[in-house]
C-alpha cells in the first residue's frame, strides 16, 4: 500500500514539473482567423531559405487572399533589430508576428527553419513542411488550393 502511495506521489511530482516547464502560448490571434486558410510560416533573419520564401509568400497572399488565404509569418529572432532589418529589405505584404521566446514554435513542434504549417478553414493543421526551396513551392500551392476549395 505504501509503495503505491509513494509511486502515485512521484507521478504527481513529475506532472507538476512538466507542467511548470511548458506554458501555454496565447493563440487568440490564430483563432480569430478561423474560417480562413492560414499559411503559418516560422522564420528567422539568419535563415537563408526563409529569405527565398518571402517573395513567394507575397505572391501567395496577393493571389489567394481574396479566396480566403491569410499568410502569417512568425519571427523567431532573439534580437528584434535583426528581424526589423530583414523586414525592411524584403517588404512583406502579409501579417508578421514576433515570438522571441519560441512559444508558438514549441507548440507547433518546429523541427527546422523555416517550417510552415497549412491550417484549414476549421482550424486544423493539415500540412507541415520543413525547409523551403522553390521546386517544392508548386506542391505547397496545390495544397493551399485544395484547402481553399473546401467549405
Amino acid at each position: 500500500m505504501r509503495v503505491i502511495r509513494v509511486s502515485l506521489f512521484l507521478y504527481l511530482c513529475l506532472g507538476v514539473g512538466i507542467a511548470a516547464a511548458q506554458a501555454a502560448p496565447d493563440l487568440s490571434a490564430l483563432k480569430a482567423l478561423q474560417g480562413r486558410v492560414v499559411y503559418l510560416d516560422f522564420w528567422a533573419s539568419w535563415c537563408a531559405p526563409c529569405r527565398q520564401s518571402f517573395p513567394w509568400m507575397n505572391t501567395l497572399q496577393s493571389r489567394y487572399g481574396a479566396q480566403g488565404l491569410t499568410v502569417v509569418a512568425v519571427n523567431l529572432d532573439h534580437e528584434r533589430t535583426d528581424a526589423d532589418l530583414f523586414l525592411k529589405r524584403l517588404a512583406p505584404a502579409f501579417e508578421i508576428r514576433f515570438d522571441p521566446q519560441g512559444d508558438w514554435a514549441r507548440l507547433f513542434k518546429v523541427q527546422g527553419m523555416p517550417t510552415s504549417v497549412i491550417i484549414d478553414r476549421s482550424g486544423n493543421a493539415r500540412f507541415t513542411h520543413v525547409g523551403f526551396n522553390s521546386q517544392d513551392a508548386a506542391g505547397y500551392e496545390a495544397q493551399i488550393q485544395k484547402l481553399l476549395a473546401e467549405r
Partner: protein, 73 residues
Amino acid sequence: MSIRIMMACLVAMALLSGCSSLGVEPWQRDLLSRRDMLPGGSRLDDAIDDHLYFSKEASSGGRSFGGGGCGCN
C-alpha cells in the same frame, strides 16, 4: 511518509523533469552562432590556453610528435 521525504521527492522529480526541456531548438541557432559562443571566441584566452597546453604537454611532445621528452620546449 514524513514531510521531509515528500519534499525531497518533490525536488528530485522537479529536477528530473526539468531535464526534459533541455537542448537547443532549431530556432535558437542564431544564439549558437554568435561570436561569443565560439570555442575560440577570445584571442587572449586562446593564447593562454595554448601556452598552458604546450607547456604542460611538452614532456610528451607538446603539440607534435617530434622532439619532447625533456619538458623544456
